[in-house]
């Protein structure tokens, strides 16, 4: 071996050691950052579990709220109320959101398509309390009462941009040749969009809807001005209705120790329900994927 090649060899070894060192440092940094990013989630979950888990019982799911100082009781009306409010929001938001997303995807550079994209961006930045005031003005004031309908509408407005954005992004991922394949069979554009494009993007669309649901299921601010809350059992959508996040708000700001405990427990119920819904949707998607063999 010549002197030069020995020298080169030694330098390469040195460089290799240095690169290994840099690699270890970067790996360490990214690992720490990952832990930092997950930490708040674990912290919140742990804290809520610790504070709220103590008072969790079957009664909490089946009983109505009790007044201050009366032990027991639950948030059954708020669970059902939240389900109804979110259901109404889905009913109001999903159909127009899907159609709007289809339009924005199929005609991206038309004035209407651009306006829609700009509009959804702005809408997703509007504070939820402002949406609440909006629903208060257009529904609560004319009807002269707080109602679940108004709450559903407020939540729907918050959901709209989330679903539109997610659906549009998912439609973009559908191969173009599927659309051509359908059109080449003589299918009109609208049937192509509804029967081929939307089903092909369904997994992502469902995920988008779940994101929207998860977001609005935890909204309290717009409900203060719309569905208002209700300590009693009510499934009448034209009347004030209880909801879990609003219940947490009411319990938490009250000056009573037992209500604070209930706020934590309600928070736990809300988190578990939203998480459960998400897991269910994911299972459904993976089951459907297996069915399609893809």
């Amino acid at each position: 071996m010549s002197a030069i090649s020995v020298a080169v060899h030694a330098r390469n070894r040195q460089r290799y050691q240095f690169r290994r060192g840099v690699n270890a440092v970067m790996l360490g940094l990214t690992s720490v950052a990952t832990v930092v990013a997950i930490l708040p989630l674990i912290w919140i979950l742990g804290y809520v579990l610790q504070e709220g888990g103590r008072f969790l019982s079957l009664d909490f799911f089946t009983q109505l709220p009790t007044p201050v100082g009366v032990p027991g009781g639950g948030v059954a009306n708020a669970i059902v109320g939240s389900a109804i409010l979110v259901g109404l929001a889905c009913l109001f938001a999903i159909p127009p959101a899907l159609l709007a997303a289809i339009y924005a995807h199929a005609r991206p550079n038309t004035p209407l398509g651009l306006a829609l994209r700009f509009g959804t961006d702005v809408l997703s930045g509007v504070p939820s309390i402002v949406v609440g005031i909006f629903a208060y003005t257009v529904v609560v004031l004319p009807l002269r009462r707080f109602s679940a309908l108004a709450g559903g509408l407020a939540l729907a407005v918050i959901m709209l941009p989330i679903i539109i954005r997610a659906t549009e992004e998912m439609l973009k991922l559908v191969p173009k040749n599927l659309r051509e394949g359908s059109l080449a069979l003589g299918a009109p554009e609208w049937k192509t969009q509804l029967r081929v494009m939307l089903p092909a993007a369904l997994d992502g669309v469902v995920t988008g809807v779940m994101l929207g649901i998860a977001r609005v299921a935890g909204e309290a601010a717009p409900l203060v001005l719309t569905s208002f809350g209700n300590p009693f059992w009510s499934t009448d959508v034209t009347q004030p209705m209880a909801a879990l996040p609003h219940m947490i708000f009411v319990y938490a700001i009250a000056p009573y120790k037992d209500w604070h405990d209930k706020a934590w427990t309600t928070a736990l119920v809300l988190i578990v329900l939203v998480l459960g819904l998400n897991i269910a949707a994911r299972l459904l998607i993976s089951w459907r994927r297996r069915q399609l063999g893809a």
């Binding site: 040749n177 359908s182 299918a187 009109p188 092909a200 399609l292």
Partner: protein, 284 residues
């Protein structure tokens, strides 16, 4: 009244059905489609121009030529798929049975039903095999289960796929192999009973065995249908087609058909020097 005037009066007073019948009668026997002085523009760019092509019924016409010379553009103009390209524009005529597909008032959807298409990459819908084939017939309002079953079986038979999939019609079309997917797409195109089938490099993403199957299939299909195929594979054009159209790029980057002939003649006695250079591999 001169003869000309009578003819005009006839046209003016006939119902669309009668006009159609007339057109049918006048269609030159044996010529299924005819492209006349066609030019296609994408924005300001002229993709093809001066295209003239006759497509004979129950024969396979191949369009060959170097990449980018506009083969696909010509093919896609035959069922108005170019309409989907933003800012595209077409001049000239594309006649199907003597009727201009681009005439005002002609139904694009009906044209696409009569002129089906198979694409370069197999593109089955993310649905079951059955639903893939039944998609077209359902579009046209066939909802009867027994009728659909029949169409699906017949189409899959014609696409030489039935024996391979008859026990798994409910499985996803995406679970099939590439060659099977392409035959599924052919079955899907056949299911709406087209008159012409356009194939845009249908075997270019397939292995040699699957390619052979598709080529054999084309020979079967030409008894019932008229086939136009775009291919960059000259051997394939020589093997499968009855007529071949040679395309070449002009100096302004627009494409033109420079020679059309029976495949045998075009490959053995090309008239145009550029064709000869291309098929003998001397083309730069």
């Amino acid at each position: 009244m001169t003869i000309d005037q009578t003819a005009w009066l006839n046209i003016l007073t006939s119902t669309p059905a009668q006009v159609h019948e007339q057109a049918q009668k006048h269609a030159i026997a044996g010529i299924k489609m005819q492209v006349q002085n066609m030019a296609v523009y994408y924005g300001n760019f002229c993709a093809v121009r001066d295209v003239n092509l006759k497509i004979n019924e129950h024969h396979i016409t191949a369009i060959i030529g170097p990449s980018g010379c506009g083969k696909s553009t010509v093919l896609r103009s035959l069922n108005r798929m170019n309409d989907l390209v933003p800012k595209s524009r077409i001049e000239g005529q594309v006649m199907l049975d003597g009727e201009n597909l681009y005439a005002p008032g002609v139904d694009v959807v009906d044209g696409r039903r009569r002129v089906g298409m198979v694409f370069q990459r197999p593109n089955p819908f993310p649905k079951s095999i059955y639903d893939n084939v039944a998609y077209g017939p359902r579009l046209y309002g066939i909802g009867n289960k027994r009728e659909l079953d029949e169409i699906v079986e017949h189409s899959l038979h014609q696409a030489a796929l039935w024996d391979e999939v008859k026990d798994k019609l409910n499985q996803s079309g995406l679970a099939l192999s590439g060659g099977q997917q392409q035959r599924l797409c052919i079955a899907r195109a056949i299911a709406v009973e087209p008159e012409v089938i356009l194939m845009d490099e249908p075997a270019s993403s397939l292995d040699p065995i699957a390619t052979l199957k598709i080529e054999d299939l084309m020979q079967e299909l030409k008894r019932d249908y008229t086939i136009v195929i775009v291919t960059h594979n000259m051997q394939q054009a020589a093997r499968v087609s009855d007529y071949t159209a040679m395309m070449m790029m002009n100096e302004d980057r627009s494409g033109t058909i420079i020679e059309v002939d029976e495949t045998r003649n075009l490959f053995t006695r090309p008239k145009d020097r550029r064709t000869e250079d291309y098929i003998t591999g001397r083309f730069g």
